[in-house]
Amino acid sequence: MKSEQDSIINYDLVYAHIVASIVLLAVVFLAGMLYSLQFLHLYPFPGIEFLSPGRVRTVHTNGAVYGFIVNGFTAALYWALPRLTGQRVMNEKYLGWFMFIALQGAVAATAIGILAGDSQAIPWGETPWYVDPFIVVWLLLALVQFTTPIYKLANKEPLYAANWYMIAGLVWIPMVYIMGNYVPVFFVPGIAGAAITGTWIHDAVGLYVTPIGWGLCYYFIPVILKKPVWSHALSLLGFWGLAFFYPLQGVHHYLWSPIPMYAQYAAVLSTIVLELAVVSVIVNFMMTLKGRAEALKESIPLRWIYVGIINYAITCFQCAIQVLLTTQKVIHYTDWVVGHAHLIMYGTFGFWIMGFISYLWPKVNHSETYSKALDEWAFWLLLLGMELMWVDLLAGGLIQGFTWWSLSPWMDSIRYSFPFWIGRTASGTLMSIGLCFYIYNFYKTGRKKTVSLIHAHEVGAGGGVR
């Protein structure tokens, strides 16, 4: 007989999205490593247009979002939302599997389109125009699929912070996507279009990745620590702060541009103040850890999540500084920005997803992690590689910025950057080794399930429902 949770959670969907997320993360790493070799004059496919470094780089950035992050979040939502609400998502059997296949199809079409040269000229919105409508439909389906259980719960009892955050992420993103991917390309050219692409880059992070990520943290952290969040009131204040004050933040991506200066000043001011709202969320999670910090030694999923939170705090503090017009004079267009982007997208959201998957994978397999030692190696190598890459790119970015500012010959900045580009490839190699450990452990944990299920069947034990 199926238990209550077996009837509301579709384990196969969680399983499938996790596998897709990890496979695509490997592809993203590969593309990133290939691109970094271009800077060292070691690119292995010179002269092949389909695999030209610029296109491979775009596969790296788009794959990270649509492939790794969206799949990772979707897997976690299929697990967490039914448990948070006691309700099923709208429809797993047809809608859930259709969405799974559609997402992988959209990711594949995006990668092929980009490699074929069909990118849109929008930073981080390079998805070919013919894929965009499918992504919008997918996001609308996700909205219906995942808000259904929240809606059912909201009519019975007050909502928990995680649910509020998930509502925000699911509601905002279809509109943000349409605005960012269609309006600048087809309707609003020029500087106004540039301002809109700025809002897209930032709102995609702030109005989808951040609320879904925080929402899932509000589920996983109390569950792993087995204690409630320090202050639910504070978590709600953080949520409403994000819901009301985050939108239209990204104009600060185009400082010193022809956008009127008073609008740039307003973007800078609101960005700095928004960081205060972020602090309230970070304080809440850190205080939740109070008295249970030793859990970080034992629980690797928890460690991934908290390291991600620390990286989030660092990037937000960095953000408040780098939106200043004075700072922008130096760092704009440099590798500093690349370092910042890596720390937020992988060092924060990527680490959270690694934590969610580390927690969920043994559960969906009704198994235990294959090797704790491999897990430890993966964690430390990925963490060390990530932080080294961040420092390396920040330092390289400063050197580049000051070299340009001093009006030195362009080639000087290339020459000075070279050691930092070696550093980037070296730290990326460390991360790739860590990822190999992670994937091997992941694979063996999945295999362990197969063996344990066969054993359970042979001895007539009744476990292992998937």
């Binding site: 912070a161 009131a233 978590s235 239209l248 476990g463 429902v465």
Partner: protein, 96 residues
């Protein structure tokens, strides 16, 4: 709310939410004005779309308030854990 929660609440309201609201209003005002500048009229489209969705969140906030979602404000955090504990016990009984 106990004394500690009240202090946190008011600190966050006065030092974070109110400055956040003021800076957001300055930003919205600036973006509204920017649309009359040469070449910037197209910015009106996303601007008003964002405001429209934000109004939805205002409505959601009012609905949640009237439905009593913020009355016993710490309760959902406890209920969530109780529900999770029930599921986890079932999960372990399922034969891991």
């Amino acid at each position: 709310m106990n004394k500690r929660d009240k202090i946190i609440f008011y600190v966050v309201v006065f030092f974070i939410l109110i400055p956040g609201a003021i800076s957001f209003l300055i930003k919205i005002g600036s973006y509204f004005m920017v649309e009359v500048e040469e070449g910037m009229s197209g910015f009106a489209l996303p601007f008003f779309n964002y405001l429209f969705v934000a109004l939805g969140f205002v409505a959601l906030f009012v609905w949640a308030y009237l439905e009593g979602h913020f009355r016993d404000i710490e309760r959902p955090a406890i209920e969530m854990l109780e529900r999770e504990q029930r599921y986890e016990e079932e999960f372990l009984k399922g034969g891991v």
